[in-house]
């Protein structure tokens, strides 16, 4: 397929946005908008899947290689699951949430394909702007607004830092196309460009040491919005990260070291900090930092296998993480809120066990194959000591993930709290995450083959 037909999935998402914006005049209103959004996102995912690989569009500003296809499909699928849950739950002003989430989805899908700096920046902004609003969705809650404001200001700052770096990159190399950067003679200026650009990206991906906004922002936000913001754009973020890394790594090898340092810091700090959290949102924020560290460890090797492993891992992280956060939205945000959950909802708790086991990296779930491929890439790049750090910290992660399991099975229920009554469609959404965690693990082969190693 050539030409604009490649953008049909994005157009479908845009239709969903339009529907949500005019939902008050359309049948079904709030809930109808979310259902339509979920359906359109699902169709968009299917449209990406059936799409053959295509030529680049707009003179090379958007690439439609296998990596882009993987990330666009993954983002749309995550978004569809989240919208299904939201449609079932109706959190108030659902159409606004739908429109915002679909805007962000659109941005993330474009981000996955962006191979030009300007397009990339526009796509990142399109993906994150709606997230600011989502994170402060309950405007009547002051503490929520504080988190959202923190997120907004820091995200804006990091955007600026990144753009500053990217402008240097353009200044030094004279092009905005990612294929054409040559920093070999650029000296200090080239280093500065790379450093600033990646510091910005690290902060966006919540990698240490620029991760401090994440726990506060997540804690301030509603858990169901965190479920979206912390997962759906993650895959696209990973793709953008490895694309930029791949474009400069050949002529500025120092970037590999920068990424490695951030990766190790993220793994260690994220996992250790998550250990003491009592709020699952904060725990997931810190564990998100750690998982970002893992994927960066694979990418730091600056090889095609490592890039592919990083993108795969982002998806392998996002699927169970989305399901877990949706369960948190239903059960309560504290670890102790899960106490006695097993006697209330055994199936959901078993689902949580599967998803948490995947996040730990227990085979044969998708998270295990994510870790397997990325450790393989990292060992192949000669990072043996850092892989040891990675596996040690993943044992640490087991300790805090197991606390949720333990509370669910063995905890004494807290009397004065009211978890949301389970709804069928909401449970279906969670079940889809659980099913995907299992199925994508058992069928990791085809998925890895489909992802390919387009970014070199």
């Amino acid at each position: 397929m050539t030409g604009y037909g490649l953008l049909i999935p994005e157009l479908l998402v845009l239709v969903g946005v339009a529907w949500a914006l005019f939902a008050s005049a359309l049948p079904g209103r709030d809930r109808g908008a979310a259902i339509a959004g979920a359906a359109l996102a699902a169709v968009a995912c299917a449209a990406v899947v059936v799409q053959p690989a295509g030529e680049a569009l707009f003179g090379g500003a958007l690439a439609f290689d296998s990596t882009a296809r993987f990330a666009r499909a993954g983002t749309a699928a995550l978004s569809a699951v989240w919208l299904l849950w939201t449609a079932a739950r109706g959190q108030g002003r659902t159409r606004e949430a739908t429109a915002l989430a679909l805007f962000a989805t659109l941005g993330a899908m474009l981000m996955s394909a962006a191979t030009d700096l300007v397009t990339l920046v526009l796509a990142i902004e399109l993906a994150t702007m709606p997230a600011y609003v989502l994170m402060g969705y309950r405007r009547e809650r002051v503490e929520g607004l504080e988190g959202a404001l923190k997120y907004f200001l820091l995200s804006l700052l990091t955007s600026l830092v990144m753009m500053y770096g990217l402008s240097f990159l353009y200044g030094v190399t004279g092009t905005t196309r990612m294929a054409g950067f040559d920093l070999s003679g650029a000296g200090v200026l080239g280093l500065l460009a790379v450093l600033l650009a990646f510091v910005g990206l690290f902060a966006k991906l919540s990698a240490a040491p620029f991760h401090y906004w994440a726990p506060d922002a997540y804690e301030g936000a509603e858990p169901w919005t965190v479920a979206f913001v912390s997962t759906a754009p993650k895959v696209a973020g990973a793709v953008a990260f490895v694309r930029l890394l791949a474009s400069v790594a050949a002529t500025a090898p120092v970037v590999s070291t920068i990424v490695l340092v951030a990766a190790v810091a993220s793994m260690v700090l994220g996992n250790l900090a998550a250990l003491t959290q009592t709020d699952v949102r904060r725990m997931m924020a810190y564990s998100g930092v750690a998982h970002t560290g893992y994927l960066m460890l694979a990418a730091a090797g600056a090889g095609a296998a490592g890039y592919a492993a990083a993108v795969f891992y982002a998806f392998a992280y996002a699927v169970p993480s989305l399901g877990m956060m949706l369960l948190v939205a239903e059960e309560g945000v504290l670890v102790e809120d899960f106490a006695g959950a097993f006697s209330r909802r055994p199936a959901a708790v078993w689902g949580a066990v599967v998803m948490l086991a995947s996040l730990i990296g227990i085979p044969p779930l998708v998270g295990f194959f994510g870790k397997l491929t990325l450790f393989q890439a990292a060992l192949g790049a000669g990072f043996a000591p850092w892989v040891v750090v990675a596996v040690l910290t993943s044992v640490v992660s087991a300790a805090y993930y197991l606390r949720i399991v333990r509370a669910s099975f063995f905890g004494e229920p807290v009397a004065e709290r009211a978890p949301l009554a389970p709804s069928v469609a909401g449970s279906v959404a969670v079940a889809m995450c659980v099913g995907a965690t299992l199925a994508l693990g058992l069928a990791a082969g085809p998925l890895l083959g489909w992802l390919g190693t387009a970014i070199r």
């Binding site: 194959f369 892989v387 082969g445």
Partner: protein, 486 residues
Amino acid sequence: MLSWIVFLPLVGVLLCAVLPKSQAHLAKWIALATTAADLVLAGIMIASFDAASAAMQFVTDVDWVPQAGIRYALGVDGMSAPLVALSALLTMLAVLASWKVDKKPAFYFAMLLLLQVGMNGVFAALDFVLFYVFWELVLVPMYFLIAQWGGPRREYAAIKFFLYTLLGSVFMLIGIIALRLQLGTFSLTELAGLGAKLPSEVQWWLFAAFFLGFAVKVPVFPLHTWLPDAHVEAPTAGSVLLAGVLLKMGTYGFLRVSLPVLPEGFASWQFAIAVIAVFSIVYGAAVSFAQTDVKKLVAYSSVSHMGFAMLGIASGTAAGLNGAMAVNISHGLTTGMLFLMIGMVYDRTHTRQIADLSGLANQVPVIAGLMAFASFASMGLPGLSGFVGEFLSLLGAWQSTGVAAWLVIVGVLGVLFGAAYMLWMLQRVVMGQPSHIVADQPDANLREIVTVAPLVALIVVIGLNWDALLRFTDPAMTALAKLVGG
């Protein structure tokens, strides 16, 4: 065939999962039927196994994740076939021993069956990633068995077990990936020939990584501290399977992976392993002396007994390796039986304190007799199975050039200790006048006798006719001894 043996229990798991709450009491029948069918399959496998051959048999080998070079490969040789059979047997007996479990029975039996999938799978897997999948699969049901149905400190023990073994196995994962990067395959059978090509320094490091993974499971001193907690807190069936099968996964790992794949790594680690093994023998025995809880005593005795298996492995000779295999099987039978007996006593008296128990022989002669029998088998009385392994392990270590003679002599002292603490325990528990707790308790019922009868029979058969076991293990072990130059 092997796929059926490995995955048949999964059918039982699914049946238990869909069992309505009102029918939960049927779970044990589902579990019994599944494990019995599995045991029959394992029996057929053993009966049609060509013991003269050192090659893999009943092989299944298809692509699983071709993009990463992972295959779904199963097969057994003389090293793994007896262990698969042991796992099938002990799981069925564990189901019988759990007949009275009435707290969430469907959940309980589902976990037992899931555990069996993992255990059978570990011994049958020929692909290293598949091996790792089953290896880790074992953790989850065992965690729940301990944490849900265990003793007073069950949650602590369960977490400790989980994290400890996970810590060991992630190092194994690094080793698996490193081998794949160096040699280009995950196949355990291919690796066995290829690994020798690696430079000795690489082999040393890889051996260290695998050592951490396997030694935690065995366990050897000083990586054993999870074991007493897990054993004491676990329900009877959990202890039986922990001691009977899970510990064997560790020694099996050494025999299947560390030795054949990394012969030079083994050569440089040989002495260290022998020292650790002998230390474990003596340490386990010494600590057993000091225990006031029968279950804890048997738990520590496992450290001591598995030390003999490790000493046999460290010898690298055919005799020693056969001895290690014999300890594996025999310890599974005898310690499994001891835990079953302790479970029977506990079910009646609700105590495991040696001080509270006495005079079992007067009050419950059948239980006392079986307990004495299991203890004798465990301490290595000639004519019973325990002797075979200890004798061959020590003999192999004596023959071996890599194990110093004084280590073997210290190891022999361990046999003496083993007899001493077991006899002392028997003296206090079995002999004397029945304590008020023991008085009026009923003797073993038919179900309990049926549960231990197969173990008694096997212990005697192997003890009198060594060849019953060794004819399976010998071809594989002789080949392995050649590989490591023993």
